[in-house]
């Protein structure tokens, strides 16, 4: 029976709660001081649009104080309070009013100020609930000592004179009061956590994903959700990519989320949360509907991803076929024509003294040379070997060299890129220059290829007559499809001053 009471554990927990109160009460006082500074600073920022950096730094100080309280709570009271929201950096752009509006409009900053208000109030509540029974226990014990030892000035406790019998009775009463004190301290997390959790809950701001909600609810920022797609009998992540459940060696574990008896997702979380598996289960049950909705979105994203990958495969297969044809032409017909040209040259040498025959051979050589050049041009159009062999820069240089108008070239990408991205960038320049030559009536053109924010940015512009319409020809539509296959996008501006063709290709697009 005594063992069932788990007294040792409860007393330890009560002592930890006392330690928590002793350590964090000064923090609550600091919160009050910070709040006293923050509130007038907020008014100043609102009215004058200045002191924004000081306001944010002060709020960050308050946040640091409350984070310390949260850490002590999680460590000593074994709560699982999520971290406080991090205010956005002090805005740098715009005039001071715009910057003030942006800073004061930051939901995370406002929540931190709200928490600064609530922090001392919650602390007072915890102090009252936790310490009043302790004070009562000490009072009863000390009164008992006065009675037994005959010391002190207290003469009566209620109707009873404070003597030895009353002292012994008070000592006996100390036991139930001590039980209440331990229960009150042991129950502090139960009392304070819902308040704190409610204030820290991300429900306060909209647009938060289910993953973030769960991460904050469970106090585990590394939480992730994978969604079960029954048709594929596999899990996918939020972006629709295939995902695996962690094994026991990963230090992570997972909890299955079910809705109406069917699996909808698995929450992957820190294995340490296994100790409070019911917490994860409760969070999973509470958010199962939202998770099911997210699952449907993930299903859709998975289908889109599958479509993208299959389109990429088609483009890659087509490119591979082009490369093969170019190789076949280069190694087959082109080599034979070159050999034929050499033989014709030898034949011409042997026909010395037969000027008419030599003239016929020269005509044949010229036609052969034209055929060879046309064949090379055809092979380049199908897939340039220089792109495969030497990369984007040299391939674009070769394109520009053959252009019949001055072209300013600026290629800042020297490293090799995935073949699909190189092809997409190359054919963007090729199609752009082809259109410049054919339709633009331009005096000059400019080609630029550079790497920006994880994307390849391709630009082809001219000073021609404009009038480019994507829908009018198949070339640009085909280019658009090719770019879409690698998650790229194209933008054209065409007017009397010329045409600008821009393409942006994400570097992960070719994966």
């Amino acid at each position: 029976m005594i063992a069932e009471l788990q007294l040792r554990k409860r007393v330890r927990s009560a002592v930890r709660a006392l330690g928590y109160l002793a350590l964090t009460t000064p923090l609550a006082m600091v919160s009050v001081v910070v709040l006293v500074v923050v509130l007038p600073l907020s008014v100043v920022a609102l009215v004058t649009g200045s002191w924004l950096g000081t306001l944010r730094r002060t709020v960050m100080l308050g946040r640091a104080v409350m984070q310390r309280d949260r850490l002590l709570s999680n460590r000593l009271l074994e709560t699982r309070l999520p971290p406080l929201p991090l205010p956005a950096p002090t805005p740098r752009s715009g005039n001071r009013w715009r910057r003030a509006a942006k800073l004061l409009g930051d939901v995370a900053l406002r929540r931190n100020v709200l928490l600064l208000v609530a922090h001392p109030l919650i602390k007072i509540m915890l102090l009252v609930v936790g310490l009043v029974p302790v004070a009562l226990m000490l009072t009863v014990a000390v009164l008992g000592l006065f009675g037994v030892a005959g010391i002190g000035s207290v003469e009566y406790v209620g109707p009873v004179p404070l003597g030895v019998p009353a002292g012994l009775a008070l000592w006996a009463l100390t036991v139930p009061v001590a039980v209440l004190a331990v229960a009150a301290l042991d129950g502090l997390p139960w009392l304070g956590e819902p308040f704190a959790r409610r204030l820290l809950s991300p429900h306060w701001h909209s647009g938060v994903s289910v993953r973030e909600l769960l991460a904050e609810s469970l106090g585990d920022r590394s939480v992730s959700i994978v969604y079960w797609l029954p048709e594929r009998e596999s899990f996918v992540d939020e972006a629709g990519h295939p995902a695996q459940l962690p094994g026991p060696e990963d230090g992570r574990t997972w909890t299955l989320v079910e809705r109406d008896g069917r699996p909808v997702a698995a929450i992957i979380h820190d294995a340490a949360l296994d100790a409070s598996r019911e917490l994860v289960q409760a969070a999973a049950a509470a958010s199962s509907m939202a998770i099911d909705n997210e699952r449907l979105k993930a299903d859709l994203r998975a289908r889109v991803e599958e479509l993208r990958v299959s389109r990429l495969r088609i483009v890659e297969a087509a490119d591979e076929a082009r490369r093969r044809i170019e190789r076949d032409l280069h190694d087959g017909a082109q080599q034979q024509l070159v050999a034929l040209a050499l033989e014709l040259r030898l034949l011409r040498n042997r026909a010395a003294g037969h000027p008419e025959l030599q003239a016929d051979i020269d005509r044949l050589s010229e036609r052969l040379s034209t055929a060879l050049e046309e064949l090379r041009e055809l092979a380049r159009g199908i897939h340039p070997s220089v792109l495969t062999d030497r990369g984007l820069g040299p391939a674009i240089d070769a394109l520009v060299d053959r252009a019949p108008l001055p072209v300013d070239v600026e290629v800042e990408v020297q490293e090799r890129l995935p073949p699909a991205i190189e092809s997409a960038a190359y054919f963007t320049v090729a199609e752009g220059l082809t259109n410049v030559v054919k339709y633009a009536k331009a005096g000059s053109a400019r080609v630029a290829v550079r790497r920006e924010d994880g994307e390849i940015h391709v630009l082809v512009e001219d000073d021609g007559v404009g009038g480019v319409d994507i829908e009018a020809g198949s070339g640009l539509r085909g280019l658009q499809d090719r770019l879409a296959a690698v998650d790229g996008r194209m933008h054209i501006e065409s007017g009397p001053e010329g045409t600008v063709l821009e393409a942006r290709i994400p570097l992960e697009g070719g994966a």
Partner: protein
């Protein structure tokens, strides 16, 4: 079909509930007994004869002193309020014509004990009042008085006479003198002081770390016949002279 089961409390929860019930029941019984045994006792008596002074030493009780003019005797009304039958201890002593009335309540945890005195005194009978946190009030009194209290408030209204001295630790002092007393000394450590005296020249000693205001009806003069000493450690001081 399974019947719904009432959730069972854990052994610890049962122990806590039992302890809470025990402590709560004891507290409730104490509170009920306290109100059930509340008593109020009113005792009135007179002190006759030729008196040289009156001393009231009442610890927690309130004291009200009312001037009785030419009436020869001192009339005392004592109101005792207590519970659990633990009334105050009272002592009465007469030595060299000075009557001393002393009351002390027992120190008790949970329980009430308070004594209030209402004393009617003839003119020119010096009165000394000592309390801990009881309030002291004087009305229409003519003579000399020495008042000392800790946290109790002192209020002297329509007083007139020779020497008045009021000292408190934290209690506020408010006086309204009907005539200029020969010496009015008001001192407190942290309390506020308000003194209203007839306008005129006074030997003035006013000091505080707090705010102080001396009205235009008062002028300081070292050769003045009346002394006004108003001293506070940190409390605010207001001295007004009535026309």
């Amino acid at each position: 079909m399974a019947a719904a089961r009432t959730p069972r409390l854990s052994p610890w929860a049962r122990l806590v509930v039992a302890c809470a019930a025990l402590v709560g029941a004891l507290a409730l019984i104490l509170v009920l007994l306290r109100f059930a045994t509340d008593e109020e006792r009113r005792v009135t008596f007179e002190v006759r004869g030729r008196l040289a002074g009156l001393v009231l030493d009442v610890a927690d009780g309130d004291v009200e002193v009312i001037g009785a003019g030419r009436r020869p005797q001192v009339a005392v009304t004592r109101v005792e309020r207590f519970s659990f039958g633990h009334g105050p201890r009272l002592e009465r002593d007469v030595r060299d014509g000075v009557v001393t009335l002393r009351s002390r309540c027992p120190t008790a945890v949970v329980g009430r004990c308070a004594v209030g005195f209402r004393v009617t005194v003839p003119d020119n009978l010096p009165v000394t009042v000592i309390t801990d946190d009881g309030d002291v009030r004087f009305h229409d009194y003519r003579g000399s008085a020495d008042i000392e209290t800790d946290s109790g408030a002192v209020r002297l209204s329509a007083i007139c006479g020779f020497q008045f001295s009021a000292r408190t630790s934290s209690g506020p002092i408010a006086t309204e003198a009907a005539c200029a007393p020969q010496e009015l000394s008001l001192r407190t450590r942290t309390g506020s002081i308000t003194a209203s005296v007839p306008g005129g020249r006074y030997r003035l000693d006013v000091s505080t770390a707090g705010d102080r205001h001396i009205g235009s009806g008062i002028s300081a003069a070292n050769d003045a016949p009346f002394t006004l000493r108003v001293l506070s450690g940190t409390g605010d001081i207001v001295v007004e002279g009535r026309q």
